[in-house]
Every structure is written in structure tokens, then in C-alpha cells.
Amino acid sequence: MTKKNYIYILGCTCIVTLFSCKHGEGEYHNITDKIEAKSKNYHGTSISSEQLLEGIETVEISEGPHTFLIPERKSQIKSYACTECHTKPLHQLKTNDTIKKAHWDIKLAHANLNTMNCITCHNGNDMDNLKSLTGNTIDFNRSHKLCSQCHSKQFEDWKGGAHGKKVAGWAPPRASMTCVNCHNPHKPSFETRWPARFNTQKVKERE
């Protein structure tokens, strides 16, 4: 009798296990399984961002395993090349007169003066380029290399795509905004401001 019972229970368990998961066509346990299974044979789609990127000048960068486009920067800087004014090294251009100087509007609000000042990023002898902490030249179009010296965590996220915005659409080729497209390098933090809208109808409904 007990043996019969065991067989009965075993049979029931088998049936329950067999029918408990719906293994119909196109059905997965969860979305993660589904994504994994369906992306195994991914060969791209016909949708492309190329058309949306037309008219936006970009440069291709490769960082680790990631290769993508970022907006070209030099053409966006109002008075580039800097050497058009900075014809001589900076110390030779220095004067003690009190007239309003160029770049008077730039106030450095980035870290503190112990950590950073102008020459942390700029090179007085080579104004057309940026410089790394060790004094190597960094092109203005590759300014992320400068930021990534300190902001390594953000840099990792940016490379992968978790930090920063995309240019144009979601489809490949990937084009991401670079650091300075959102952050003013002299004053990088976001400011507080008023929300874009206020829903007066919602207030009425909840009275």
C-alpha cells in the first residue's frame, strides 16, 4: 500500500513538473531569459541612426571595448584656435593694467583651488591643446581623456552608456554626447531651477 502511495505521489509530481512551466513557442520564464535567447542570433536591424546624424560633425573614439562617436568640439568653441589671440606664451601676455580682460566671465567653480586651477587643464605654452596631469597633450576633441583622470567612475559609466545622453537615436551607430556637451568644464555641476511645468488640474482633482 505504501509503495503504491509512493508511486502515486511520484507520478503526480512528474505531471505537475511537466505542466507547471508553459514551454509553448515564444514563452520564457522571464524577460532576462527571453532577451538572452532572442539576442543570440542578433545580426542588427534595418533601423539606423545615420540619417539622424547627418549634419552633426562627429569624431570616432575607441575606449576599451567601446567604439562610438562623439560630437566634434573644436568647431563649437567660439574663438578656436586659441592661438589666434594667444600668439605668445601666456606669461608674456600678462599685464598689470586694470582693463577688463578676455575670459573675464569665467569663474572657476570646479573642485577647489587646492586641487585645481587653470593650468591643471590648460597649458600656457600651448593654448590650442589641453594637458593631462602629467603634462601630456590632450586634443580638444578628446577632452573626455582629461575629465576621466579624476572622474574615473563616471568615465566607466559613460563608456558603457549609463552616464550621459545619446546624440540622435537609439539605433547604431552609437553617438554619445561627451562630458563638455552637458557640463561646463569651469562650472560642471547642474544648477537648481524651477520645474518645467505645474499641473493645476491635478491640484483641483485632489482637493
Binding site: I35, S39, Y42, T45, Q51, T192
Partner: protein
């Protein structure tokens, strides 16, 4: 009320022999337990009063209430003539030689729109035809041209979304962009997106969060979290729709056929995330603000009494663009992309950041992940 007139089925377990027990738990119909007072009318009197007031009506249900009515010849003729006149009116506008060409065309379009099928079941020709009709109809009525698409889901695309709760500053630029992009009703200030202002260190308390703040943001000691339609892979709203006016497309978008929706709002009740909105009045958008780049399943003009919701901007996303909210966000808190593309940024976020979803235990499988820096 007699027992054979019940409107629902009740199980007979053999304990129905009790006679009328009155409205009191004590079982007596008069006096005794203290709760019976003399000025209370008896059940019999109450039934009689109700009968006198609404007569046979309450014994009839649904179909019978409409069709099983007492009618003499005169009323019957009057009603028939009335309905005939309405029908004749419709025919005469479309066939008459005196009405203008435009009016005829309008009537023709309205007629065909009225009797078209469910979008899901339409062939490609039928889809193109209804899109053409809607475009022409708008042209006739508003004298403006719109561009409407009926683009299908692309192969090998599954849309997913990620929201960075440490980046969102609560500026609500996304909400504004969404309203403008999707032609939402300006009168009722309908918004698909809600941004919840939550207190730091309190967890996700949606009941205590404020989703309609108006002060400088980000506020000290708060973080911001946006909710909208999560385009669940196992959407409960789709299951409950009695007319199959809402469904999940192959690229994962949960969409609505506004012309098939009967406005029962079951989906609104079924959605655990408050993702759906209802048009209580005819949506109004100032003509110059109407977004003319439309999709049949997306931002085309809705009518009164239908559901609508975020479609991940189907008119944009199926053309390769990012949804309006993603494009408008100044902080980069919103990430959108193809979940099936192993090189996409959304996949990197899912694989490398600590992500979570809301109410994961419900098994709705939302394709909307939250993450932190």
C-alpha cells in the same frame, strides 16, 4: 423579492429554508432583539413600493430592458420613423447631388471609419487605407496636412528603458516634451509621465511622495523617480481588455487601437503602475501645437472616451529616434534602446549596473529598469 428573479448565481447549500429573516441578524421578523422598531416598513410593503415605482424594470436585465418593452402601434411607428430618418439623413448626405463634394467625402470617410475592423486584424492594405482616410479627414476638417505612419514592429527589436534615479533632478522637461510630442489633451492637462519627489532614506513610498511639486529642484534631501507605462512583457492590461483593443507588439510596445477601444477602463484598473490615462472629454490641442508627425498606434488625435498611454513614442522609436522624454532630459537620466542588441547601451546598463524594477513580484515583467550611479 422573489427567489427566481436573482441576477447572479448563488450556491444552494440546503440552508435556504429559512423564511424571510428581515434585515436583522437575530432571525426574528418583529420585536424581540431590540433592533426592530415599529416605524420600519415591512419587507412586503417595501417590495410593493418598489414595484409601484419602477414596475417591471427591475426584473429585466440588459437585453430585455431594451427590447422587452410594452409598446403600442403608435409608439412603435413613431420610433421606427425616427430611426429611419436618421438613417436616411446619413444616406442623403453621402448620395445627395446638392451637398458639397467635401461633405460627401467626409460622410464617406466617417462611414468607412465607423465600420473598419480591429487594427490588429487588418491587412497591410487595410491599414494603409485607414491611415489615408484619417489623413484626408484631417485635411478636410482642419485644412492642414498631417503625416501618419502605420509602420510595423521591426524584426530583432525589443525596446527597453532604464531610468537613473541618482541623475534625475526633477526638472520635468520630459513631461513637457511628452505632452507636446503626443498631442495630449491640454484642458485636462493629461500627462503620461509622473515624477515622484521622494525623501532620502525613506525608500520608495509612493503614497508619501509628491508628484506635483512646484519649487526649486532638486530639493534638499530628496530624490526623483519617474513612472510611466512600463511596457510590461506580460501586461495585465492586455489580458483584461474585453475587446482586444490593446495588445503587445512584437517589439515589446504595448499599444492601443483608439478606434476599437470602448472606454471600459478595465486596463486602467488592471495596471499596477498607473500607466494608463482616460479621455473624459474630447482632447483639445491648439492647432499650431499639434504634432503632425503621427503614428496610428501613437500620437494621432484621440477622441472622447478612449484610453491612451505612453507608447515609447512609437512614431519616433520605430523611426530610430529616441522617445521625446529621453531626448528632452537634460541630465541623461533616461536610457532607451534595443534589448536584443548585445552592444546597445541599454544592455550595458542591465549587465553592469545594479538594476531593479517596480513590483517585480507581480510577474508583469516591465521593460523599464531603474538604476543608481
Amino acid at each position: 423579492m422573489s427567489n427566481n428573479n436573482k441576477k447572479w448565481f448563488s450556491l444552494d447549500l440546503g440552508n435556504t429554508k429559512k423564511e424571510a429573516t428581515g434585515s436583522c441578524g437575530c432571525g426574528k421578523t418583529s420585536g424581540g432583539c431590540g433592533s426592530h422598531t415599529h416605524d420600519q416598513i415591512s419587507d412586503k410593503d417595501f417590495d410593493a413600493a418598489v414595484d409601484a415605482a419602477i414596475g417591471d424594470e427591475r426584473k429585466k436585465d440588459g437585453f430585455d430592458q431594451v427590447f422587452d418593452v410594452q409598446m403600442d402601434r403608435r409608439t412603435a411607428f413613431r420610433k421606427l420613423t425616427a430611426s429611419l430618418l436618421i438613417g436616411a439623413g446619413a444616406v442623403s448626405t453621402s448620395c445627395s447631388v446638392t451637398t458639397g463634394e467635401n461633405a460627401k467625402e467626409k460622410a464617406q470617410i466617417d462611414w468607412e471609419e465607423q465600420f473598419k475592423g480591429n487594427y490588429k486584424l487588418m491587412t497591410d492594405e487595410e491599414r494603409n487605407a485607414t491611415v489615408e482616410r484619417l489623413v484626408r479627414s484631417y485635411q478636410l476638417r482642419k485644412k492642414k496636412n498631417i503625416n501618419m505612419s502605420s509602420k510595423d514592429a521591426e524584426k530583432d527589436v525589443l525596446f527597453g528603458y532604464a531610468f537613473n534615479i541618482s541623475k534625475c533632478q526633477g526638472y520635468m522637461d520630459c513631461v513637457s516634451a511628452c505632452v507636446e510630442e503626443n498631442n495630449q489633451d491640454r484642458n485636462s492637462q493629461m500627462e503620461y509621465i509622473r515624477i515622484h519627489e521622494m525623501k532620502d532614506g525613506k525608500g520608495f513610498k509612493f503614497d508619501e511622495a509628491d508628484d506635483n511639486y512646484y519649487h526649486e529642484v532638486p530639493a534638499e534631501g530628496h530624490f526623483y523617480m519617474g513612472t510611466q507605462c512600463f511596457h510590461c512583457d506580460n501586461p495585465p492590461c492586455v489580458d483584461v481588455c474585453p475587446v482586444q483593443a490593446t495588445w503587445r507588439e512584437d517589439d515589446g510596445l504595448v499599444v492601443i487601437d483608439y478606434d476599437w477601444c470602448v472606454g471600459c477602463r478595465y486596463c486602467m484598473a488592471a495596471c499596477p503602475y498607473d500607466g494608463r490615462r482616460f479621455n473624459w472629454s474630447t482632447p483639445e490641442v491648439p492647432e499650431e501645437e499639434v504634432n503632425k508627425n503621427q503614428h496610428y498606434l501613437g500620437n494621432r488625435m484621440r477622441k472622447k472616451g478612449v484610453m491612451e498611454k505612453c507608447t515609447f513614442c512609437v512614431q519616433r522609436s520605430r523611426a530610430g529616434k529616441n522617445p521625446a522624454c529621453v531626448e528632452a532630459c537634460p541630465t541623461g537620466a533616461r536610457i532607451f534602446g534595443n534589448l536584443l542588441d548585445p552592444d546597445s547601451t541599454i544592455r550595458w546598463v542591465l549587465e553592469n549596473k545594479k538594476v531593479f524594477r517596480l513590483k517585480e513580484d507581480l510577474g508583469t515583467e516591465p521593460k523599464f529598469w531603474y538604476f543608481m550611479d
